[in-house]
Each structure stands twice: as structure tokens, then as C-alpha cells.
């Protein structure tokens, strides 16, 4: 890169990129922490169900209020995400339908309803309705400083809640039956975890979009799991990986023209994940391969 090229990049990095980076970093970090818990609870894809339900809330919030600022739409999205996950819980409780099918039903029907509402709004040309569907794919670059502050505050709040309830959440994640038998309100704790995931997903929406926010909740924790068997370390690593992926994604999209931030954040998270799967000590592919070779008798 020529010196002038560098100079051209530096101003681009100054304000907007820094704001976006801060917001997305907070989101990535908190998503990694909360995602680690839902990975331990063996429900990594509830985030996907929540993410796909949010569109209904975005569309409804817009129709009801006529406003399209971030807090309004996010509130709608949060209500819808919690409603979607509540539907999931109800389907599990009252029908024979299996867990995975219930998740798929919430994903497919929730998203379909959202699309039907959004397309109806767009077709009627309500004022300000253009671009609502951007929520689907996320438009990180359009984040304002105020949005970033909102994202940061919510992220700090969710991480705080996780730290306060860590003992209970760990207990339920590792042995729900024991927790129930010793008198812990397992249903309530699960509900809290599900709500946290919904909050994470909703906060991640403006940064990554409905489709890819799932990756933020799944990939960093999967990577972190490779490096440790201890819950606190898992949470810290999940958070750090999420943060690194977010910052890397934002940085690359700032340097490479026309590259969307959301997918790059996801790909960064995936890269961390792949590297972890291969080189992590003990659980990684290389380590296990070495172990296998060490145990095999030498061939003559």
C-alpha cells in the first residue's frame, strides 16, 4: 500500500469506525459470554430461534409507533424474541413435538410472519418504512455514537447478570435434575438464561443482522470450549474471542472497501473457531492425533 493509501485509510478509522468498533466489540464480548452458558446448557440454537422471531417485533413496533429509532425497534424485537422463545417452551411442554422440530417451527414460522408483515408494510408505502428490512442483514456502518452507547450499556448489564447468577446457571447446566432435586428453581433459571440469550440476540441485530447474530452466540463459545474445561475460563475466553472477532471484522471492513461488517465479524469468529479446533491443547485435532500416534505401536 502506498503512503497516500495509508493516509486515506486513517481518517476513515477516526470517528465512525471507532464508534462502530466499540459498539460491535461490546456486543461480541457479551454474546460470547452468554453464548458460553447456552452452549453448556446444550441449547446453542435457541439464539437462532430468538433471532428469527425478532422481525415480527420490528415490524409491529414500527406499525404501532410509526417510529424507527433504534430503542423503539429493539424493544419490539426483544418482546418478539421473548415471545418466540416462550412459544418454544410451550410447544415443548404441551405437545409431543420434539425439541429440534419445535425450534425449526419457531424459526420458520416466526421468520415467515416477520417477512409477511414487513412486505405488507413496504407494499403500503408507510412513511419511513423503507429500509426496515435492513434489520435482516444488519447495517453496522450506519450505527451512530448514541446507538453504540446503548449497545455498550446493555452488554455490560447482561454480563453483570451472568456473573451474579453464575453459580446457579452452572449448576443447572451441568446437572439440571440435581439442581431441581435440591430445590433450585430450574425453570426460572432456564427462563432467565433464555431471556439473556434473547437480549443478546436483539442487541446484536443492528450489528450483525438477524441471520448472522446466531454466529456471535455460537462460534466464540465453541472455540473457547476447546481451550478449557473450567467454566470461568470458558466465559472469559468466549467473551475475549467474541470481542476479537468483532474488532477484527470491523477493522477489515474499514480497510477493504464495500465489505459488509457483519459477515466479516462472523468469518473472524469462524477463523478463531477453526484454529481452536485444530491446535487447542488436548481437545484439538492435532493434539489428539499426536496422542493417537504416541499410543500406536511402531510399524515394522
Amino acid at each position: 500500500m502506498t503512503p497516500t493509501g495509508c493516509l486515506a485509510v486513517v481518517p476513515a478509522l477516526t470517528h465512525n469506525t471507532l464508534v462502530v468498533a466499540a459498539g460491535v466489540a461490546a456486543v461480541g464480548c457479551a454474546a460470547g459470554v452468554v453464548g458460553s452458558l447456552s452452549l453448556l446448557r446444550k441449547r446453542p440454537l435457541i439464539g437462532d430461534a430468538a433471532a428469527h422471531s425478532t422481525l415480527v417485533g420490528v415490524a409491529t413496533a414500527f406499525v404501532l409507533t410509526g417510529r424507527r429509532d433504534l430503542p423503539t425497534l429493539l424493544t419490539g424485537a426483544l418482546v418478539a424474541a421473548v415471545a418466540g422463545l416462550a412459544t418454544l417452551v410451550l410447544v415443548r411442554r404441551f405437545t409431543r413435538t420434539r425439541d429440534d422440530a419445535a425450534t425449526a417451527i419457531v424459526i420458520g414460522v416466526g421468520f415467515g410472519l416477520g417477512i409477511a408483515l414487513l412486505s405488507g408494510i413496504t407494499a403500503r408505502g408507510l412513511p419511513g418504512s423503507a429500509g426496515l428490512e435492513q434489520f435482516l442483514l444488519g447495517h453496522t456502518a450506519a450505527l451512530t455514537a448514541r446507538d453504540a452507547v446503548v449497545l455498550g450499556i446493555v452488554s455490560v448489564a447482561t454480563v453483570t447478570v451472568v456473573l451474579l447468577g453464575l453459580k446457579e446457571a452452572t449448576l443447572v447446566a451441568f446437572d439440571a435434575d440435581f439442581a431441581a432435586a435440591t430445590g433450585w428453581p430450574v425453570g426460572l433459571i432456564d427462563q432467565a438464561l433464555v431471556t439473556l440469550v434473547a437480549v443478546r440476540v436483539v442487541v446484536g441485530l443492528p450489528a450483525a443482522g438477524a441471520v448472522r447474530v446466531t454466529a456471535l452466540v455460537v462460534s466464540p463459545p465453541v472455540a473457547a470450549r476447546q481451550w478449557t474445561d473450567r467454566v470461568p475460563t470458558l466465559l472469559v475466553l468466549g467473551g475475549v474471542f467474541g470481542l476479537v472477532a468483532a474488532v477484527a471484522g470491523v477493522a477489515v471492513s474499514a480497510v477493504v472497501p464495500r465489505m459488509p461488517t457483519g459477515p466479516l465479524v462472523v468469518l473472524s469468529a469462524a477463523a478463531i473457531c477453526i484454529v481452536s479446533l485444530v491446535i487447542a491443547p488436548r481437545r484439538g485435532w492435532l493434539a489428539r492425533r499426536r496422542q493417537r500416534i504416541a499410543f500406536e505401536p511402531p510399524r515394522s
Binding site: L39, K42, R43, P44, L45, G47, D48, H52, F94, T95, R96, T97, D99, D100, A101, A102, T103, A104, I105, I107, G108, V109, F111, G112, L113, I115, A116, L117, L118, S119, G120, A123, R124, E133, L136, L137, V211, R212, A215, V217, V218, S219, P221, V222, R225, Q226, R258, M259, G262, P263, L264, V266, L267, A269, A270, C273, L277, V278, R283, W285
Partner: protein, 426 residues
Amino acid sequence: MNMVLADWSIDGATAMHAWAIATAATVAAACALVGTLLVVRRMSLLGDAIGHAVLPGIAVAVLVGGRPGSPLVFAAAVATGLLTVWLTRLVRSAGGLADDAGTGVVFTTLFALGVVIVTAAASRVDIDPSCLLYGILELVPFDTVSIGGVEVPRGFVSAAIVLAVLAAAAIATWKLQVFTAFDADAARAAGVPVAAVTGGLLAATALATVAGFEVVGAVLVVAMLVVPAAAAELLVRRLHHMALVAMVLAIVGACLGYLAAWRWNASAAGMIAVVLGIEYAAAVVLAPDDGLVARGLGRLRYAWRVLCEDRLAAVWRAEEKGTAAAVPVSLVQRLAVGWLWLTGRFVGPAGRLALSPAGRREAEMVVRSHRLWEAWLGQHAQLPLDHLHPPAEWVEHHLGAAMRQRIEAEVGGIGDPHGSEIPPEA
């Protein structure tokens, strides 16, 4: 743009809508067929994963010169779908992960990769990622091929071929699929090539997903794969019935969804998913055995029977003692008495009701069950006398004639522990 079937007697617009509906219904039927097996094998989220993950495959195929909708792009998408499945298993085994986690990592990554490719090559690849999510059912009739002089939408042709292939494969291998789905270990032991059967299902899923993906978009394929099958599972018990019911539900959902979208000017793909969701909700509520209504009615019917039998027994006991029958106090008790009078088990004017012969027989059987159970408990459970009544009060509604005979044989024809006589079997 080709005007489709302009020479038909119905006008062009109606023909367009008819073609779009036919395409949606065909895709829905194909998805529901595959979805039935996915649902019973707990692989429902596979369609979600494949639907997202085929984006980079399609993008690359278009980049090297394939026309959207052409067989090359179709094949690339199916290949990417299979690659997704393979990668998911690789990640899962490499990381020792739950299945869902591997799926989540792989499909989100591939989708992001696809978006990056599409964005990077935007000048050469005319793909709109949101279009891949929404689907373009409304545009299907505009892209036609000529078959025997008739202009047929390309989407319909590929969907019909996929449906025919899947239906033929399903008919040919159904028994193996069922065996593998319900007990893979037993199937393997019996010599079924389980890996090949599962591989065939995965390939079928990729085919159906890609066919659906072109019509209704990535996420809604999930709805078409899973929702009708899950609804059918609540309605019927046999697997082949489930497949047929799922296909019917899917076709009905596709037609109604399209019409609803037309009526309210909304996305057809979205409305189809909504209608499928309504069908599932209806199945949850109305299913003959497991539905909320059926279960609720069953409980109501039971509560009502208990109420009526208790009234009959109360009057019978009052007659036995020569006292006045206990006057019903609650509203439901009055209702029960009214019902018993209407159905001829009580006779006489209000206030001085007496048992009819039929009512007397019924009451005697309830009291007989009650006292036999008390006698049995008194002999076998060593309960104090004042603890015998409550369990008998419950059991009296559940004993049949055969069970009463056996208990009577065992307690040996003595009276009940409180000294009352046990009425004989009717």
C-alpha cells in the same frame, strides 16, 4: 419477459398466479415428504443449515458463468448442501460438540462467506442476499422454458422433477428408511446399509432444500420441511400416513398462503409459512388423541362421570339408611342431577327424586366397587378403618365387572369393613 400461456382462455394474470401456486405446492409437497423423515430422525434443523449454507455454492457457480436457475447452479447448490452436512459432522467430531453447536458454526460461517463473495463480486454476480432469504415466488412464472410448445415456468419444472425423484426414491426405499429411523442399530444388525440410507436422506434433503430455496427462500424452506411434518405427527400414528398427511397439509398451506398474500399484498413466501404455522397450531389444538381440545374434553368427561356416579351413589346410600338424600349443593351437582333426571336415571318430581331401575343398577355397581375396595384394603393394606374411605372414593369410578369379581373372590363374600352389605353384581 415471456407472457405465459397467453393463448389460454383464462387471462394471463390468472395463469401466472396459477403457475406460482402450482410451483409452491409442488415444492411444499417435496419438502414435506423429506421433512417427515427428518422430523422423526430429530434432524429438523438440517434444512435450516443447508438452506443458509448453499449461498456460497450458488455465488461461486454464478461467478463462473452459471445462469441463476440453471442446472449448473442447482447442482452446485446441492453439492454445497452435502458439503455442509459433511463439515458439520467434521466440526462435531473434531470438537466433541453437541450436534446443534456444529450446525450453528458451519451454516452461519458459510452464509457469511456467501454474503462476502456476493458483495465482493457484486459487479459480476447479480444475487441479492435478501432475495435468497425471501424467495421470489411472485417472479417464478416470468422465467419460463418451452416444453412441447407450452411455456412452463422453470421453477415449476425443477420442482416437479425433484418431487418425482423424491417420491420414487421414497417408495423404493421406504421400508429401509423407516427401519433406520426407528432403530438404526437393529437395522445395521439386520444388514441394512444404514450409512447409505442416511446418505440418501441427506441428499434428498439437499435436493428438496435447493428446490424450495429457489422458490420460497432459505429460512422458509425450514418451515416447509418441518412444520407440516410436525403437524402430521400430531394427527396420525403410522409413518406413511404421516408423510401423506404432511404432503396434503403442505399443498393446502401453499395454496392458501399464496391466496392470502395476493389478497393482502404481502410476501407469498412469508404468508405460506404463516399458514403452515396456523395449520400446526390447529393440529396442536384439535388433534384427535393428543390435541388440547381432546385432552381437555377427556378430563371434563371424566370429571362429569365422577360427578354423576357420586350423585347416584349418594341417593342409593340414603335409601339404604332410610334417610333423605343429601341435597346437591353446588351448581355442577345440580346440573348433574338434572342430567341424570333427563337421561332417566332419576324419576319423580324435583325435591323427591328416586332412583329408576337403570339408575339403581348403576348406583349399586358404584357402591359395590367402593365397598369391595374397602374390604380389600382392610384385609391387605392394614389401614385403620377411618382411612379406607378416601381411596375407595377414588377407585370406585375405575373398577370394571371383571375386576370386581376377582376382588370379591379374594375378600371372600364378607361385608365391607364398616358392616354394610356389598350389593351383588348386576
